[in-house]
Point group: C2
Chain length 304, copies 2
């Protein structure tokens, strides 16, 4: 049994102050799968692409051991998204969102994936995320990403979904938005009352926080002087986080903390290059080195 | 020889969503001195008040071992500041700033303070901060706070000052403003080229970062559900940071990290109550407990 990942596959147009790419591989399921693939197989992807989806992208995913039996190929164009990042890279304009074949996406979980115990729901319509869970047979860990668009537009469906989610991964503004509470600590408790026993708040250049009933953990950000393309950072985090948990099969608070750092590590690799390039040619040794660098950033040698 | 602290003493009007106080003790030198007083004496304060400054505030500072020989008392009113915090407490409106006797403040360092090796320059006009340094005889560590008002209005004077500063403590938006660079890591290097060998960036609810030539350290924020009054948090940080260094006389990178956590600890006590109340009745044991709590927030037990 593998790690099931559901989300979008996209062809992205990305403009940053440094460069511009068109038709680059993107989508939440893509980034999550690639990031998770470095930890343990099999990684099982469920998603949809059109007949314009390049074979080379399919091969690249297969080369990373991603099982594509759940990848639907439909007549029409692949989901296309365009975004432009500003000078400070924290501000992004969406240039266009052409859903194309994604508009009618109906996630069908292949029989052999249904017993998978670890599930990562990438950022898509919560109605579809729920449909996925309904097909799964006793998943043990459900990790879920979402965004302000769904919090504002599909609140009821999202609240239904959250009752069945173990780990919710969102950013700080989404945290405040979801429960209408500016204090992150208060907001985190309110969100855990909605279902998830574990909440992870991604804070970009300020790192990430992990909340469980008994733990608050603060993870630093990796000190990056140059971010080439922030696209996919959150998905890479989710992939690294879930992939590490799937590899270790250990859901203790301390191992959740390690998973947050592995997630942060994968996000840091992701933004070092355009599109998925930063995630395509890593070694597990590199990932472990980055993990240790992260630990050093918040370490004090205690002599007392 | 003591720890010399220069800055403002004020009577504050503070409005938060929870309460309102008028004529409360405030000012950068006040918060810095109180926070530093818990680490090691003598703490030497240089500042100015009017003849309306309540005796009880003078006694309270003296009770904390603050040497007030450098406190000038002038005819007229004490510096008064009014601020209103919004619901999310990250947004503050300044209601009024009446400089009063502070307008003509000319810091005169008493003879017995001039040989002090540790100096903390609270947030006042950089021209005055420079005047202080010109009176000191070979200070060993100069810690300096400033704000956007001086970065925008007295840039040249501030740049002159920075050449003589060892540790600069500012927040993230001031960091970006000072060198016109959105990336904090790049900005930190640019600022260290201006003079300070050490830079501390305060990030409020996101903690703090320490930069030296050889170190980047990320300190978490204390998870606070209730912040009663954010006034003085930055000054309390500076006081705790400098006070701990003064106590330990150890400027190694590792001890600087500890000092950042002690600074964060004092800031967390400060905001738990209105005005200076959170800093008035602490024990060193409480401070050490808070320090350990901080360390736990970013600790992973490593078993590998």
């Amino acid at each position: 049994m593998g790690l099931l990942i559901v989300g979008s596959l996209a062809l992205d147009t990305v403009i940053t102050p440094f460069d511009k790419v068109e038709g680059a591989l993107g989508g939440s399921a893509t980034y999550i799968s690639l990031a998770a693939s470095y930890f343990s197989g099999p990684v099982e992807l469920v998603g949809v692409v059109g007949n314009d989806f390049p074979d080379e992208y399919v091969r690249m995913l297969e080369d990373h051991g991603v099982d594509l039996e759940g990848l639907q190929k439909e007549e029409g164009k692949t989901f296309r998204w365009g975004g432009k990042y500003h000078y400070d890279l924290n501000v992004r304009d969406t240039l266009f969102t052409d859903l194309n074949v994604f508009e009618k996406f109906d996630p069908v979980i292949p029989e052999k994936f249904k017993k998978s115990k670890y599930v990562c729901l990438g950022n898509i319509d919560p109605t579809l995320q729920l449909k996925v869970l309904e097909q799964m047979i006793e998943p043990q860990l459900v990790v879920c990403d979402t965004m302000n668009y769904w919090i504002e537009g599909k609140k009821e469906e999202l609240l239904q979904l959250l009752k069945r989610v173990d780990v919710l991964i969102i950013n700080d503004s989404e945290t405040r938005l979801l429960v209408q509470e500016p204090n992150l600590i208060k907001a985190s408790k309110m969100i855990m009352d909605l279902g998830p026993q574990t909440l992870i708040i991604k804070k970009g250049e300020h790192g990430a926080m992990l909340f469980t009933d008994e733990t608050i953990f603060s993870a630093p950000a990796y000190p990056m002087e140059m971010i080439y393309d922030p696209t996919g950072a959150g998905d890479s985090f989710a992939g690294g986080f879930t992939g590490y948990l799937f590899k270790t099969r250990d859901l203790s608070p301390n191992n959740l903390k390690s998973a947050v750092i592995y997630g942060s590590s994968m996000a840091s690799f992701c933004v070092e290059k355009f599109s998925t390039k930063g995630l395509e040619e890593l070694s597990y040794l590199q990932i472990q080195d980055r993990y240790r660098e992260f630990l050093n950033i918040s370490r004090i040698d205690e002599t007392e």
